[in-house]
Symmetry: C2
Subunit: 326 residues, 2 copies
């Protein structure tokens, strides 16, 4: 390995030693789009020690009390002596300006907890780019010794699938609702969920929440049981983030499922598949990104204009473009 990567290796060592500022610097490096930064980021990732946290994907639409849940759940975990990182994967359309401040404000106590680290979604237009960086940030947090990496997303577009693909467990946080609204949860999302938590099981909504839990439990029973899961999973449970009820039970269930998957080898198998498809999507994205670099980008747009004007055949123009890429 050449010496130009020495700073990246030093940074990797500092991240692994648990230095908070090093982690922040590493994440900033990873989120940069500058070519030289990217090269350092690749060297940094390669130099990280292999540690594993429990990666928990969490999806919840606005209004279900997701921030309150993460704050209460995160504080419970740090109270148990665990170190918790919270990352977000949100399409930019779902976020208003100043989200960094927003995230820390809405999880005020957790953000001040020395055993917690909150990182908002990088502000990029494209969901694929956000997912890419979040995957790398999760790796950094694992190397930094966090025990739990919580990856949250709002339920918009493909973001749930992307988060599930980088998590060991996938949790759906839902609000108490009437039977009709139950259909609003897409079947595909239900099928990804390991645990459905119905929040706001407190005060006036407690009875509704209990009914909602059994509605979802019934819906989950109708879905095909996945061979990689033990009896009784996926499961639906009530929680109250405000009152703290049900959080310990939810954590017990998550640990039981993770434990079962570890013992059956499904945990590692899942990680191996995720790493492989991450590798493949990096290769594909990197290859396609060559079309955005000069002189390829100018040539592509010139040929595209000729095709649109009917002066060139699409297939012949594509062959010409591909040849020019070498």
């Amino acid at each position: 390995m050449s010496d130009i990567h020495a700073p990246a290796r030093d940074l990797a060592a500092a991240v692994a030693a648990g230095e908070r500022r090093a982690l922040a610097r590493a994440i900033t490096l990873i989120e940069s789009t500058r070519a030289d930064h990217r090269e350092q980021a690749v060297a940094l990732l390669a130099a990280l020690p292999r540690r594993q946290a429990l990666r928990i994907g969490l999806s919840g639409t606005p209004g279900v009390g997701k921030s309150t849940f993460i704050e209460a759940f995160g504080l419970m975990l740090t109270g148990l002596g665990l170190r918790v990182a919270v990352l977000a994967v949100d399409p930019s359309s779902a976020r208003s300006g100043g989200s960094i401040l927003g995230d820390k404000t809405r999880m005020e106590q957790l953000s001040r907890d020395p055993n917690a680290y909150i990182r908002p979604s990088p502000s990029r237009a494209e969901l694929g780019g956000v997912a890419r960086r979040t995957r790398e940030t999760a790796r950094l947090c694992e190397a930094a010794g966090f025990d739990v990496v919580l990856i949250e997303t709002v339920g918009v577009g493909q973001s749930e699938t992307l988060v599930a693909e980088m998590s060991d467990l996938f949790i759906l946080l839902l609000a108490p609702a009437g039977g009709d609204e139950l259909q609003g949860v897409k079947r595909g999302i239900m099928e990804m969920a390991d645990l459905i938590l119905v929040n706001k099981a407190d005060g006036e909504l407690k009875a509704t929440a209990t009914r909602t839990v059994s509605d979802y439990a019934g819906a989950l029973r109708l879905l095909r049981k996945r061979p990689q899961d033990p009896e009784g999973f996926p499961k639906a449970l009530p929680v109250s983030a405000v009152e703290g009820d049900g959080l310990a039970r939810a954590w017990d269930e998550m640990q039981a499922l993770a434990q079962w998957r570890r013992e059956t080898g499904n945990f590692d198998r899942n990680r191996a598949e995720q790493a492989q498809s991450w590798f493949l999507s990096e290769v594909r994205a990197g290859l396609l990104a060559r079309l955005e670099r000069e002189p390829a980008a100018s040539r592509l747009s010139a040929l595209g204009a000729q095709v649109a004007a009917g002066r060139a055949d699409p297939v012949a123009a594509a062959a010409e473009m591909l040849e020019s890429l070498g």
Copy 2:
């Protein structure tokens, strides 16, 4: 242009002269995956004269009487002196073996009509590949002087979108149905349709078909009117492929819509956009196809295995792979 492309230019001239055997040979060349054939195919496409047929995309699930409709509609068009080509875009899962014979058997009269040409879906596993070849075959048929190119698909997966993207008009053929079943048609598909034809408007089903037409007409009114369309479109109409009722009316409507789009410039604009996105998808597919060629393919699978085994970092391995591609 070098002389190795002389056979391709000769074939292009024969296709343009309307020679049926040349067309069949050209399609076979286009469907071949051999590298030297592909090169000839690119030269052939570039040498074709630019002629335009009306491209009609047609989607209908099994059981709606699609073959009967195409046979009756096609014979009506050839009866008007028009030359009609029928192509199919079907994911291989939707086709049983012997589909070539099947297509010609189920459209027996049309297949014997000298002014008609029926080409079944190329038997490939991957829908993207089928779409690619069908786009090129449609170009060949236009150059060969066909007036109408009918591109049919079963309503499975993404095939409707692919067909709509290579058509000037998109027609949905549906069966008479109760109000509840109406929801079975996905909103996205409805939004692509220029014309919904409710088939089997004859005998016992006539009343149901009439009701179904007004149900769909109501549903279409709820969809946002597209700025590129004249008043009254998209439209729902009853047809009976068996008795021949409504076919002339349907053709009138298609012509009126096409005429309107030609006059407003939307027809050419749509074609230009289609050509440009065809070009872009050819470039992207061609670039990604490099990963399937040796020695890249072997290297990709070796690196992927290392990543899965945890012996290499996904991002670093991807960077290594990209570098090896030059």
